[in-house]
């Protein structure tokens, strides 16, 4: 799976996600394992106590399914992404506007076991409101979100 036309993309900063809040995003191919979920609402995750949270929620408009998300800047490692012209065209990208990348969070019992999926990031074109779950095989499916405390 090599492609010489891959190009690095500028990923919008977390602060630029505001424009997507409350919007419905269309995923033409669904998410892996959820092919019939195509329409998702994007919102901030709101803790019960009203505090600010780094998490977002992608909630299916087709089924009762939702995914916690976080911006890649919260992941303690470099995370360059390259996107093929085919993906660019399926996202309806016509200019150099920043794309949005979000990572799906898998919540587990112990906080230190919570992981983000670096292999299957969600890439969203914020102006067209189209998204795709990209597959980047060189990254792990489960990467710890929290850095272990330094002893």
């Amino acid at each position: 799976m090599t492609n010489s036309d891959q190009r690095s993309v500028a990923i919008a900063a977390e602060s630029e996600l505001v424009g997507l809040l409350g919007k419905e995003i269309f995923f033409p191919t669904g998410l892996l394992g959820f092919p019939s979920c195509q329409r998702f609402n994007f919102n901030r995750f709101n803790p019960g106590d009203g505090s600010a949270s780094p998490f977002f929620v992608l909630e299916s408009a087709d089924q009762e399914v939702s995914f916690p998300l976080i911006h890649p800047d919260f992941v303690p490692r470099d995370y360059p992404l390259e996107i093929s012209p085919e993906v660019m065209s399926s996202l309806d990208v016509h200019n150099d506007a920043d794309l949005v990348a979000m990572l799906i969070v898998t919540v587990r019992d112990r906080p230190e076991d919570i992981t983000v999926n670096l292999q299957g990031p969600l890439i969203i074109n914020p102006s067209a409101l189209i998204g795709i779950q990209l597959v980047v095989e060189e990254y792990p499916v489960r990467y710890p979100l929290l850095v272990p405390a330094v002893q």
């Binding site: 799976m1 900063a13 977390e14 033409p28 191919t29 998410l31 892996l32 394992g33 959820f34 995750f45 803790p47 019960g48 106590d49 505090s51 600010a52 949270s53 780094p54 998490f55 399914v65 939702s66 995914f67 916690p68 976080i70 911006h71 800047d73 919260f74 992941v75 303690p76 085919e86 065209s89 399926s90 799906i104 969070v105 898998t106 919540v107 587990r108 019992d109 906080p111 919570i114 999926n117 292999q119 299957g120 779950q133 597959v135 095989e137 499916v141 489960r142 979100l145 929290l146």
Partner: protein
């Protein structure tokens, strides 16, 4: 399962618009070239399974709201890794 024999350089077609070509052979490894419409996702099977399972786990995590609240507080206490003046 349908089983076909192909030589290097030969192809099979699946449906109207998917073509799988045997590009090269080396030991027990085969290189395949796949042509498919862009709405058809082509993945190594193990990637497909791993990602599907991870998506299901993420969607079905029990009691995730409370846990997200707790972890969110820890994360918010530090700023994102990237700064804007890079």
């Amino acid at each position: 399962m349908l089983i076909l024999s192909r030589r290097v350089g030969e192809s099979i077609t699946i449906g109207n618009d998917v073509v799988v070509k045997v590009v090269a052979l080396s030991g027990n490894q085969i290189r395949l070239g796949i042509t498919a419409p862009r709405e058809v996702r082509v993945l190594r099977e193990e990637s497909f399974h791993a990602l599907r399972e991870e998506n299901r786990a993420a969607a079905g995590a029990p009691d995730s709201n409370r846990r997200l609240e707790d972890v969110g507080k820890q994360l918010r206490s530090k700023t994102p890794e990237r700064s804007d003046d890079e």
